[in-house]
């Protein structure tokens, strides 16, 4: 009897029945992600709007896309935004995590404060930062006037609009990576740091040769998560600048949104979505393979 129970409980490695455990997840994954993705790819080969029958046009939507100056501009804006935000988010949240990686009431309170921005909705975040950036009564405008400088139209100047959106995003997004880094830092054995201290190792060398390698997997994970998230910029740009001025803060998702819901050009929007999907995939995979080759994957 005992033998029967043991054989029942013993996992059968390589058995197809084990897949049953992930079946519920697979059903949702296929139904809610894979199937819509395939439908989206199919739509991108059609000329159709939201309310009428479509016709197959092959790669015409893609050809149109790559000759569309507004789309190319939104691609460049999005890449610029990712460059502005991802390194900043990762570095700032890493340094905050290192600074707060200690057991004290103050660090606990500060962790809560730094994380609190992440729980706000995009509407609240952009409202707060609008008050900071608006040129007349905004925080920065008052500061500039106080210093005798000319206030800058952060939300209405082409060179500043996307930067303002990026600053807002960085402030909004540092909470989650900070918590991931804190969790990772707490896994690093204290003995390693003690050994380094005994060897009189400087703080910078300790950080570079002990901390960074120990949490490299978390750094890679965070970078990939942030790349995927920041490529999908939408709410902040729509609410703070509406993509302007002159389209200088219009990201790809806003382009897709406009094509789908303002123009009702669903096939065109679907084609732009596939380009965005490919960009995210390539960027995230490049980061993953680059890190793997260095032996950290």
């Amino acid at each position: 009897m005992t033998g029967m129970v043991n054989s029942f409980l013993k996992p059968k490695t390589g058995s197809w029945s084990n897949a049953l455990f992930i079946l519920p997840y697979l059903i949702f994954f296929i139904g809610m992600l894979v199937y819509p993705l395939i439908l989206g790819i199919e739509l991108s080969f059609y000329k159709l709007d939201l309310f009428g029958p479509g016709r197959f046009v092959g790669f015409k939507n893609y050809v149109r896309l790559f000759s569309d100056k507004i789309f190319i501009q939104s691609v460049m804006n999005t890449l610029y935004f990712v460059v502005l935000t991802v390194p900043a988010i990762v570095l700032i949240s890493l340094f905050i995590a290192i600074a707060l990686n200690q057991e004290s009431k103050t660090s606990g309170l500060l962790r809560g404060i730094f994380f609190s921005s992440s729980v706000l909705s995009v509407t609240i975040v952009t409202l707060i930062w609008r008050i900071v950036f608006i040129p007349n009564d905004g925080l920065l405008a008052n500061l500039f006037v106080g210093l005798g400088w000319e206030p800058i139209g952060f939300l209405s100047r082409p060179e500043w609009a996307l930067v303002a959106v990026a600053i807002t995003t960085i402030w909004w997004c540092i909470g989650l990576p900070m918590m991931l880094f804190l969790a990772a830092l707490q896994q690093v054995p204290k003995e390693v740091y003690e050994a380094a201290a005994l060897d009189n190792t400087s703080k910078f060398r300790t950080f570079l040769y002990i901390t960074v390698p120990s949490i490299m997997r978390t750094i890679i994970l965070t970078v990939i998560i942030e790349i995927i998230l920041q490529f999908q910029l939408f709410g902040q740009a729509q609410l703070m600048t509406n993509g302007g001025p002159n389209g200088t803060s219009r990201p790809i998702v806003m382009f897709i949104y406009d094509a789908a819901y303002k123009r009702w050009d669903i096939g065109y929007a679907a084609a732009a979505s596939q380009v965005l999907f490919a960009m995210i995939l390539v960027a995230a995979m490049a980061q993953y393979f680059f890190s793997s080759r260095k032996g950290h994957g």
Binding site: L50, F51, T241, G244, P245
Partner: protein, 436 residues
């Protein structure tokens, strides 16, 4: 025993509630823009006390709910203009019962059979189509049927701070402001105003939104008799008329004769704050600015308003209208009866809506003494004759508005040359229209 009795009573009451549908309220889902103001008017049913678009429409609906215990109007307030949300709702097959819609947008939805003709419901509500203004009827009529209930006609206006105009010695002998009659005169007066007051002549929204640019562009194109949409599928913007308008406003920007960098809320607040002489904004702010002129502040006893001045050959202003439409969907008889009652209520109270500053959608309101006594209405009454809109056959007018506004703003603020901006605007609009 007591517990049993209590349970029985509760069950009986519940059964009675469920089994008596005739007592139930008919729920009417209304989706509107005009903003949210629950804190100020969320429970107000005295419409006379309400001010501004949001205050008046909120109070009107509160009053309707209070007077009609058998109907519950549930309001969803959307961010202006809310068409992206409506489009998604229609695509998902779940639109609200009644929606606010600009008359310029009705063709988009009507041409796809997404709106119900409302002639029958007007008949059942006892609303005579001839009771609406000619502009309103024209704005909602497609293929001989009415696809919306006209609520108002609106346009962009010169809201004027007379106190600052006085300081600039720009008042006529009768106390009215001096208004320009040519582009050169506009620049001359704007320069004089700035020299005298140290403030910009114009207050404009130049950030986070481009619709005002397009509206002023349409107005001054119409004043030059430019038929830039002669073919509704092919716009022509590379013209001398278009260059005249854009260059004029570029000069105003370059010379600091306008506020810069303001978004819509900042521009709205800047005018009663005395930050400039003329606010370029819509009819919907008249009520608010009249109220502001009755309080202490830079606008105290010094507010008036006029249509955009005639700078070119023809007196014309771009105008549009708000309407209530009914998306195509399955509806119960109770729902249709409740809708008819609600629309009748709005029509009967169109005077209250006209207090916002919009021109009434119901013709009879023009003849009401109360309306005639509203401040400044005689100044803007001519909009009924001079108002022009784009040809109804032009589809996606809001998307077109965004494109033209974005390109013009680029030219005015110096991010693009005027010729490049007009060329790009023309290309982008035609690309949009040719890919419908």
């Amino acid at each position: 025993m007591k517990l049993k009795k209590l349970l029985f009573s509760v069950a009986a009451l519940a059964a009675l509630t469920i089994a008596t549908p005739s007592w139930a309220e008919t729920e009417l889902s209304v989706q509107r823009f005009f903003g949210a103001c629950e804190a100020d008017f969320g429970t107000n049913t005295d419409v006379d006390k309400a001010v501004g678009e949001c205050g008046i429409i909120t109070s009107l609906i509160n009053k309707f709910n209070a007077e009609n215990s058998d109907i519950n109007v549930v309001v969803t307030t959307v961010e202006w203009p809310g068409y992206d949300q409506l489009t998604a709702q229609l695509a998902a097959g779940d639109p609200p019962d009644i929606v606010t819609m600009h008359e310029s947008v009705i063709s988009d939805y009507q041409s796809r059979n997404l709106l119900m003709p409302m002639d029958d419901i007007f008949k059942s509500a006892g609303i005579e189509p001839s009771s609406f203004t000619g502009a309103g009827v024209a704005g909602v009529t497609k293929d001989g049927k009415m696809y919306g209930m006209p609520f108002d006609t609106w346009t962009m206006l010169f809201h004027i701070n007379l106190n600052l105009f006085k300081q600039a010695d720009m008042l006529n002998a009768d106390g009215t402001p001096m208004l320009p009659s040519s582009p050169d005169e506009l620049l001359e007066q704007a320069r004089k105003f700035k020299a005298a007051t140290g403030k910009p002549y114009m207050i404009q929204q130049l950030a986070n939104g481009v619709a005002p640019y397009t509206r002023l562009f349409y107005t001054f194109m119409a004043q030059q008799n430019s038929d830039f949409f002669a073919d509704p599928m092919n716009v022509k913007l590379q013209s001398d008329e278009a260059r005249n308008v854009v260059n004029l406003f570029k000069t105003i920007f370059d010379e600091g004769l306008t506020t810069i960098d303001m978004d819509y809320p900042s521009a709205v607040a800047a005018f009663p704050g005395g930050e400039g002489g003329v606010a370029l904004n819509g009819t919907w702010l008249i009520g608010d600015y009249v109220a502001a002129s009755e309080k202490e502040g830079a606008l105290k006893d010094g507010y008036t308003v006029y249509p955009y001045p005639q700078l070119f050959a023809t007196d014309a202003s771009y105008a549009d209208g708000h309407a209530w439409v009914m998306p195509t969907k399955e509806r119960s008889d109770e729902n249709i009866a409740a809708t008819a009652k609600f629309l009748r209520f709005l029509t009967d109270n169109d005077y209250q809506w006209a207090r916002t500053g919009h021109l009434p959608g119901v013709q009879a309101v023009f003849d009401m003494e109360d309306f005639k006594n509203l401040p400044h209405r005689s100044n803007i009454a001519k909009i009924a004759q001079t108002g022009v809109s784009l040809p109804p056959a032009v589809l996606r007018q809001f998307a077109v508005q965004d494109i033209i506004g974005e390109e013009i703003s680029s030219a005015i603020t110096g991010n693009k040359s005027v010729d490049d901006a007009l060329k790009d605007a023309e290309y982008r609009v035609n690309d949009l229209l040719n890919n419908l």
